[in-house]
Symmetry: C2
Subunit: 348 residues, 2 copies
């Protein structure tokens, strides 16, 4: 007859005829007499006992949960990060809480604040914009935070960034090298950090190749497949021979729009994206893309976070624990696929 609820150390203690302290010790692998150990183990097994994680957390001051907050769970880039993070944190015995902020700054701040309710021991955050409120909230965070993205200097938080400026330059140079001269740029919102950086890289690339910057070859929109398609249609009248897109979703949408118009990729226009996500591989034609090390960044972020967590169960409010903030940068890498093969002469 159940006593009305799941078994606790008390039920075990009673059944084994020992104190709850002994139960706790045995179950946590501490020393105990052969006999005691035996009886506790058996009682626990018979009752199907599983320790209550909440009680443990309350006592220990840590939940062994970590939170990963990203803009959009539908973007394969973040899926790649989740996988990498998961791998690291799981090995360290942490559960991972996933949170999709839909790129809403308000939501990002809420996540940051939620560290305070002690639901998770630490946070990996991918912000899309960095406002003053972000900076303030990051400074006041109630627990360790690692940001994946570029932070203004002085924010006391570990971060892992991609070198998207260099990455974008890489792509432009590649397009130029394959004979493209009117390289259009489909960007996300220019007021986001990635958007800003990728545009800088695009312009740097043009400059390096001796190509002029033409405003009519640049479109700024949202990140997303549909937005990419619209942007491509809008750019066509300007007569580009290549579309460089700020991420794979945009590139996929753009390629789609071109094909739907009966244009050939890459014969008529080359298309390149960024992130080298799964989308780049499953697109038709397969997309040239700049690998910004998503998985690598995720892995690194998780490691940084675990590092902060070690030794210091719950950082005291206010002052940050451990060494000064660290920043890692993942180097970009161009992955060439069919979508940017050199233009061949049009069919006779």
């Amino acid at each position: 007859m159940p006593d009305g609820g799941p078994p606790t150390i008390v039920s075990i203690a009673e059944r084994a005829g020992v104190s709850i302290a002994s139960v706790s010790r045995v179950l946590n692998g501490q020393g105990a007499r052969r006999d005691t150990t035996e009886r506790v183990r058996r009682a626990a097994a018979e009752l199907g006992y599983v320790p209550n994680a909440v009680a443990r957390s309350l006592k220990g001051g840590r939940t062994r949960q970590l939170t990963f907050a990203m803009p959009d769970i539908g973007n394969p880039v973040y899926v790649a990060m989740v996988r990498a993070i998961q791998e690291v944190t799981k090995a360290a015995g942490y559960r991972l809480l996933l949170h999709s902020t839909d790129a809403v700054a308000e939501d990002e701040l809420a996540v940051l604040r939620s560290l305070q309710d002690r639901t998770s021991d630490g946070l990996i955050l991918v912000p899309i914009r960095i406002t003053d409120a972000h900076v303030a909230a990051l400074g006041a965070a109630a627990g360790p935070v690692v940001v994946i993205g570029s932070l203004p200097p002085g924010v006391p938080v570990d971060s892992v960034r991609a070198d998207s400026v260099a990455g974008a330059t890489l792509a432009v140079r590649h397009l130029h090298a394959t004979g493209r001269r009117r390289i259009a740029f489909v960007n996300g919102p220019a007021d986001t950090v990635p958007g800003h950086h990728r545009e800088l890289g695009y312009r740097a690339g043009l400059a390096e190749c001796g190509l002029p910057y033409r405003p009519e070859l640049v479109v700024r929109t949202e990140f997303g497949v549909e937005a990419g398609a619209r942007a491509a249609r809008r750019l066509l009248p300007a007569g580009p021979d290549a579309l460089f897109c700020a991420n794979d979703q945009l590139a996929l949408g753009a390629a789609h729009a071109l094909l739907a118009r009966g244009l050939r990729v890459p014969a008529d226009l080359a298309v390149a994206g960024m992130d080298d996500s799964e989308l780049a591989q499953v697109a038709w034609p397969p997309l040239t893309s700049v690998d910004l090390g998503s998985a690598e960044r995720g892995r690194r972020a998780a490691e940084l976070l675990l590092d902060r967590l070690d030794g210091r169960p719950a950082p005291p409010g206010g002052e940050r624990a451990g060494p000064a903030p660290r920043t890692t940068t993942a180097p970009p890498r161009l992955v060439v696929r069919a979508s940017t093969a050199p233009a061949t002469d049009p069919k006779p």
Copy 2:
């Protein structure tokens, strides 16, 4: 000077000069004198107080966390479910824990068992196979569980299923109606529930259309883009005029392989998938697919779970609470896109 830790009701009580009970009452919106309320509010604000969720959970016996365990977070179908579930549970004030089981049965069982550690109040599970161990574990679950998928009769758990048999039949009939006669089938593992059902539907569809079942036109492999590509290459020698695939990932891979061989879709071969995930829309050509109501199933599962949760904070161990298990079935719906347009005469 911080007292070495985040503020608690004690700090607030001291600062406001009231008892901790009053603090709790005010903060939980219970009655209190104007004056008291005022002072507590102010003290809480000044201290930046946020209630400790863990302590609350321990006291209340519920975490206000729910778990969603799916086979693969990289599959857009599950992303769609996550979105739908999120929407429902968020509105009800629950946090959502995401867990990717990688379709490992062992992992699914672990999740089920983990309900016992009281980390979450309930679970939505998408199993890929149902073993005896699953049935046993589902029966013994320590909290409410809703399964998305088909369950053997008698398992005392709410479930939401897709009618993939009918869905597959729909697709075959459509292919037949557009003039295809040698309709090949690319399935996932036949020993999974979805794999089994989709194959039943395929055969039913053939029968309805008066087409013979030809073993050489069927391939069973893993679910996944790469597997789809391999399967398509393997089927080509058998001379199919359509490839019906058990999900969109397979269909995308298959279409890819065909295009890479220089074949035209749909002119030479039609391709259709199932799930109507985002992949179907971003594929080239856009894929005809059978919508199995992923979002709808997610939403419904969340509702069922919340329903069980209501009124009964923590179901006592063993006996299940509330009404008998309920099962909902989402009707399939064919979404026709370019990949299955009727074959035109080959170019002269």
